[in-house]
Amino acid sequence: MEHYNRINLDFLNNFTKSDNAKMAKYINMFLNLAPMSIETMKSQHATADWNNLRTTAHSLKPQLAYMGIDSLKETIIRIEEYAGEAKNPDTIAQLIDQVELGCDEAFGELRDVIKKIS
């Protein structure tokens, strides 16, 4: 498989035993779910809903791991920690922006993968 900057599909390849239909199913699920989670985090930040922001970041974390988006792992953990402590709202906003930017690049790479395996 081609080398990508944001994603690493080694886990997904191994999990699906390189079954392209299954890979496409999980990638499509991620492409549907992750943008919603990012939008939810942004609105929770805007309303200072820290507890729920922590939960949303927490649930996004394993999804990023399945797509091998390791570069955002520390960022999402920091959002979870800061939101759990209800502190550093400005830093949380910057971290959410980083996640959004990183995910946008990952989405593009994942769409490319879908095209190639479909």
């Binding site: 999980y26 699920m29 729920n52 949303t56 927490h58 649930s59």
Partner: protein, 192 residues
């Protein structure tokens, strides 16, 4: 004569139990619930367990309430997410669901899953009656499978104990029967 017929029926029943393979006896009855509000993880867990255990009946629910409404399907084990309120903030949490299951259906084994790798959360779940605790990440599918293998081994040991207890009963009933027949023969002067 009727007493003798009843005795023979009882012996036949016990001999039938003694001939069963305890492992096969248990494995064919497994019904698994997956309760997780994260659709992707739930789907991956379902696919993984279906591939590993094609003979099992697997049902998937996204809330603790939905799981509770379906307990009449008599699940034998449940893979339960610790956070069940990521999507619906008013939903019952995984821990509350665990407590409800253990209070009302104590024989159902629960494997808890959570993105929390803090030991406090694991201890909290085990204290509430979870059979095992698995951290939600790339290894959670294999770890859940390993938890199931331990659970099945544990259940089979319990089942085998019950099985050998029944064999003991067969031997006791057999001895009683022999003694009773010998006593009858003795009473009618056949022996001695």
């Amino acid at each position: 004569m009727r007493l003798l017929a009843n005795y023979v029926t009882l012996l036949k029943k016990y001999l039938n139990i003694a001939n069963q393979n305890p492992i096969q006896y248990h494995m064919k009855k497994e019904i698994i619930f997956i309760v997780d509000d994260e659709p992707m993880h739930a789907q991956m867990m379902e696919d993984h367990l279906r591939a590993k255990y094609p003979q099992f009946e697997i049902h998937k629910y996204s809330t603790g309430e939905e799981c509770n409404d379906n307990m009449d399907k008599k699940p034998t084990s449940i893979v339960l997410d610790y956070h069940l309120d990521a999507v619906n903030k008013n939903a019952r949490s995984g821990l509350q669901t665990l407590e409800h299951i253990k209070k009302n259906y104590d024989d159902v084994d629960v494997i808890m899953i959570s993105g929390q790798d803090k030991i406090d959360v694991a201890v909290e779940c085990m204290r509430a009656g979870a059979y095992d605790y698995v951290v939600k990440n790339e290894t959670s599918f294999v770890r859940t499978e390993q938890a199931f293998e331990r659970l099945f081994t544990h259940r089979n040991v319990l089942h085998e104990l019950a099985h050998y207890k029944k064999i003991n009963q067969i031997l006791i009933y057999g001895m009683i029967g022999i003694i009773a027949v010998a006593a009858l023969f003795w009473a009618f002067g056949v022996i001695g």
